[in-house]
Point group: C2
Chain length 415, copies 2
Amino acid sequence: MGDTPRRGPSRRQLLLGGAAVGAGAAATLGAERAGLLPGTGPAADTTGVNGERIVPFHGARQAGVTSTPGAYATYVAFDLLESTDRDGMRAWLSLLSDDAARLTQGRGALADLEPELAVRPAGLTATFGLSREAVHRAGAAAPDWLRPLPAFPKIDALEDRWSGGDVVVLLHGDDPTSISHLLRMLVRDSRSFATVRWRQDGFRRAYGSDPHGTTMRNLFGQVDGTTTPRPEDAGFDAAVWAGPEAPAWLRGGTSLVLRRIAMNLETWDEVGVDGRENAIGRRLSDGAPLTGGTEHDDVDLEATDASGFTVVNPAAHVARARVEDPSSRIVRIGYNYDDPVEAGAVDTQGRPAVSNVGLLFGSWQRDVDAQYVPMQRRLAEADLLNTWTTPIGSGVWAIPPGCEEGGFVGETLFA
Amino acid sequence: MGDTPRRGPSRRQLLLGGAAVGAGAAATLGAERAGLLPGTGPAADTTGVNGERIVPFHGARQAGVTSTPGAYATYVAFDLLESTDRDGMRAWLSLLSDDAARLTQGRGALADLEPELAVRPAGLTATFGLSREAVHRAGAAAPDWLRPLPAFPKIDALEDRWSGGDVVVLLHGDDPTSISHLLRMLVRDSRSFATVRWRQDGFRRAYGSDPHGTTMRNLFGQVDGTTTPRPEDAGFDAAVWAGPEAPAWLRGGTSLVLRRIAMNLETWDEVGVDGRENAIGRRLSDGAPLTGGTEHDDVDLEATDASGFTVVNPAAHVARARVEDPSSRIVRIGYNYDDPVEAGAVDTQGRPAVSNVGLLFGSWQRDVDAQYVPMQRRLAEADLLNTWTTPIGSGVWAIPPGCEEGGFVGETLFA
């Protein structure tokens, strides 16, 4: 009975779904945004309602890469059971896609006894990623970059419990109830194939909080992600989507790097505004470069002050992270985390810790080795922000392309 | 510098704040709702924006009891340090109120280096509660009911790490960034007085998800909280607000019972729709009584079917929880929780657990012993829902009345 929608799809759902299948990712993005405009559909009689906002699941690209990030993220990584062979991989990935295809569109999962928890997806997306091991189990060849990042011993304090995993699923959305329900279905349907390795939850400003769509702030109070390329920017496609250099199954997909970066609020609290702005290279109040202008203006790394020193510290985060060629950039997706303090956790002075916060730093890129790793090396070598941040989790996954109705994400591995 | 607002209070803030101080709780509620209407203030130029929604902190009642619950809850309980005496209590409670008074109104805390994280409170409220020990430290007398609930051995599996605490703070709001920032300030300012005992996070449907304002669903898919009295209902004031029977410092306040109730989704999954509806006494699809009508119609506990049995099972949740006299009811405030599975957790069959979900069940009542305990005894004795639910945390706190500008919550203890 859970297979039967309690009400038919709305005209808008049909319309949006159809547009996306026909015209690919650019149309998907446009259609998703259209759903927020007043007067475009059945939900428009109530101001600002976005519970019925649908991001199409089917299409040339997986959802969740170019769509506007929802306010909440739940990430889950699975370890494959030894018994999960090629047929098992196919069956499992097919089940996962079926769950995601239904719940992201506001329908209950197969045999879902709580289909009412699915009716307001609020922009829910599910994005699937595969490790080298997962690709091999499916009998396919993996790109070179599909392996753990090289060690960055000056900064890393990686923990197994936040790192790796054979299959990762990223859930983004504006409503935690829908996310929780999809997570449950995915985990339930994974029991015969895999175990949960870790789960990580994050948040951005809630839907409706911000009238201006400003760049998110992290829990250091910094505007975070200003320079990340947007889908409409020149170079975006080249920076993100795998092309002929990739194995056939991955073309039209991308890669995900996910780093769990702990942020030490206690020591950050000891730094004044000047010190903070010097470490970042931007004004805290509005994210503008220290060399002037507004948030989205270029940082002038050459500008000097009266004493002849550069205005922006050469070790400031903006200076070390800078990538000139747009097609070599990474595309950031960041979520704050603020978890309960763990039993026995202490701060740098041995006192009971008072916070357990940080950033789920995600990035999409065509080639991890060519784009992510060189930038991360520069940051690891000298980035003033390293004083207060510690990577404690890390992983790299291949993000296969999307699928059409009746297909499943990962099907290209079995072609 | 954090003490200086980056911009002055808006006309609306002044207006709403003033109205609340003048006219008490009813006006507060009205004013808060008014803030959501289009055309009433500076935020109304953007559809559905609620980031700048302000719930007044000052007034005859504490905020958070009668205000519309935000989508997110973070609850934190503190254990007092032995060194915290009467003067310490006064200083600490005063600091906590100062943080809450500023951040809930969109201003940074004293010496707040990230005041930008405070500018969009999105309906943020902070509500403070005190245990018997906290009242005694302040040198005041506690009402009889201010103690742990009696044991309910047939159902309880209470854990210390989710129970008790000398001071509890309930944060509700529609944006997790604002909640996170206030939590941080509260914990930072508590270091000299107390340690964090526990923290619990919960959620309801996000702001903007639901066009109809329907009753929340819990993670069993049930409509949850249908019969809870609303501030405009007859009997609400008598059910909630402490009167002459209470110590003078508590008059105009109330009490909080908080139960952490684990919900077993694995075994719940084995029950079909009929079994679920029988356990609850309501239809799953819309929350209507099994005896017919719509959600808010009365349940007819006497109605019988063709065989002469009552339609509603006498052990159904609605039958056992029923309280006839409106002034003897409790006022429910519920949030779902869905936390990562803990290391080593297993299900009832010894397999790795696949979920860690439940309900943060809160209730307000004038007198815990007269209202909460009798109802809980009936439920503990026989409620079909007990099959799938387990209380794992419990606490009781006195909720003092509110304070005016320049005062602090708890000041009546020192009068």
